[in-house]
């Protein structure tokens, strides 16, 4: 079974370009807006990459630490693939794709130690802050992985603690205190079709990829998380080249959050 779309796209790749005229390492225009839901969310942001739109919001709650980490706070990341954003998404319980998006974004934030979990502790073994990140695409025009990571990181940067009197949280009053954040990590997903590696896929490109690799990077270019997707394998050289490209692009992505 030949795929006329993929065959044609590969012939375009051979000429060194993509269907929309971009270079393989070019992202579409990225915009970041902070504080889009200030009344309800402790932190929020809206990110666009080309026509893809993703919003993220932070809710902070006081809860009990997990028994095995009594002096740490908690983080939970939830991404929901809204049917509003793509006719292919259905109503219903989370699909494996939305679970993957949630967990991949979670790992970029968690494994990079971007949030200082110890500083979220209020009283060891008894009380801690819990950060809940919820991510929603509003328009899926490809590359939700990178847009979701950008939106989540921007929302975390935007977040401020609500007032807490030791017993109860008062959500109607917000302090000026930001979350305890370290150096900014970044996620960059590299796509592969045939022998071509590229970033920031359009929906058509996403449909025909052989593999993808989402790479979470620390501020110093060390890798802190990885997720491979797609049905084809990757050689060690290919993985290395993808990491190289991700490191190069992460700088650009970090600038978007300055």
């Amino acid at each position: 079974m030949i795929n006329v779309i993929k065959e044609h796209m590969e012939s375009i790749f051979e000429k060194g370009t993509r269907e929309d005229g971009r270079k393989f390492d070019a992202y579409r225009k990225i915009t970041v807006e902070y504080g889009i839901s200030p009344k309800s969310a402790e932190g929020s942001a809206k990110v666009t990459i080309g026509d893809t739109i993703v919003v993220a919001g932070i809710k902070l709650e006081v809860g009990t630490p997990f028994p095995d980490t009594p002096d740490e706070g908690a983080l939970m990341v939830n991404a929901e693939l809204l049917p509003l954003s793509n006719p292919k998404f259905e109503m219903g319980p989370p699909t494996i794709d939305s679970i993957e998006l949630s967990r991949v974004t979670d790992r970029v934030i968690r494994e990079s130690r971007f949030v200082d979990f110890n500083k979220l502790c209020i009283k060891k073994g008894e009380k801690c802050w819990m950060i809940m990140v919820d991510i929603y695409p509003l328009n899926d025009a490809g590359n939700l992985f990178d847009a979701a990571a950008l939106a989540a990181l921007a929302a975390l940067k935007d977040a401020k603690y609500p007032e807490f009197d030791g017993e109860k949280v008062d959500y109607s009053k917000r302090t000026n205190k930001s979350l305890p954040l370290g150096k900014l990590p970044m996620a960059c997903t590299i796509m592969k079709i045939g022998n071509t590696l590229f970033v920031d896929p359009t929906p058509v490109e996403e449909e025909v990829i052989d593999s993808r690799l989402t790479i979470g990077l620390l501020d110093d270019d060390r890798v802190c998380s990885m997720q491979k997707g797609g049905e084809e394998g990757l050689t060690i050289e290919e993985v290395d080249k993808m990491v190289e490209l991700a490191i190069k692009k992460a700088k650009e992505l970090r600038n978007a959050l300055k």
Partner: protein, 231 residues
């Protein structure tokens, strides 16, 4: 104490400032963003979609509405994702509010899906959702004989206040809260829900005030739909 001056200083018949835009979700058939004060709703239409045999209507399409609050959009703690009884009821009355003006005859056996997402809330959420959904349906090219416009009005001490916000809704001396949706052109009501106590006269006054508010909100809907084609 009698409620005479509104918390945010508005006049009794004054609606909140509105930002409305159409065609914001390119992958949807039609879409709209509607923000009134701090309540912000997105609506998008997808379809026509196939549905299972039991839900189909052989003569015309079926309208399915889904209202959802984003987890961070509530007024206090995080809202657990997934449908709640409240959101299911709002989804249902939203559909009923829109149906009277829509012609789904071109889509027999199929469904037209309307999705409403709240990004931030400050009361009047189902009304904002319905108002956004009507714009999204028009943007989607679904045949309609009018737009539907919706607003919540509050009644206390025989006075009516249009487009109540959360502070007013929670007013401790008790404000009756009436959610109304209507086809402004025909002045027909398609959504009517009430919480609180009102006399018959108060109710009538409230509905007339709601109509006045809907006229103003409809102007915004019309402008948003036409602005998409501004040269």
């Amino acid at each position: 104490m009698a409620y005479t001056k509104r918390f945010d200083g508005r006049k009794a018949d004054e609606i909140r400032p509105i930002e409305a835009k159409v065609g914001v979700v390119k992958r949807a058939l039609g879409s709209a963003s509607f923000k009134t004060g701090k309540t912000w709703a997105f609506a998008a239409v997808q379809g026509p979609k196939d549905i299972n045999r039991f839900q189909q209507d052989p003569e015309k399409g079926v309208l399915r509405c889904n209202y959802n609050m984003m987890a961070f959009s509530g007024s206090g703690e995080r809202v657990r994702p997934g449908p709640s009884r409240r959101s299911k009821e709002i989804s249902m009355v939203t559909g009923k509010a829109l149906l009277p003006v829509i012609d789904l005859g071109s889509f027999p056996g199929a469904a037209i899906d309307v999705y409403i997402e709240l990004v931030q809330t400050d009361a009047g959420t189902r009304c904002a959702g319905i108002t956004a959904a009507a714009m999204a349906l028009a943007d989607a090219g679904i045949p309609m004989n009018d737009l539907v416009t919706s607003v919540a009005v509050g009644v206390i001490d025989n006075k009516v206040f249009v487009d109540v916000n959360k502070e007013e809704e929670d007013y401790e001396d008790g404000m009756a809260d009436i959610a109304v949706a209507m086809s402004v052109r025909t002045k027909k009501i398609t959504l009517l829900q009430l919480d609180g106590f009102v006399s018959r006269e108060e109710l009538k006054k409230a509905l007339e005030s709601a109509y006045g508010a809907c006229e103003k909100i409809k102007e915004v809907q019309v402008k948003a739909l036409k602005d998409k084609y501004k040269v």
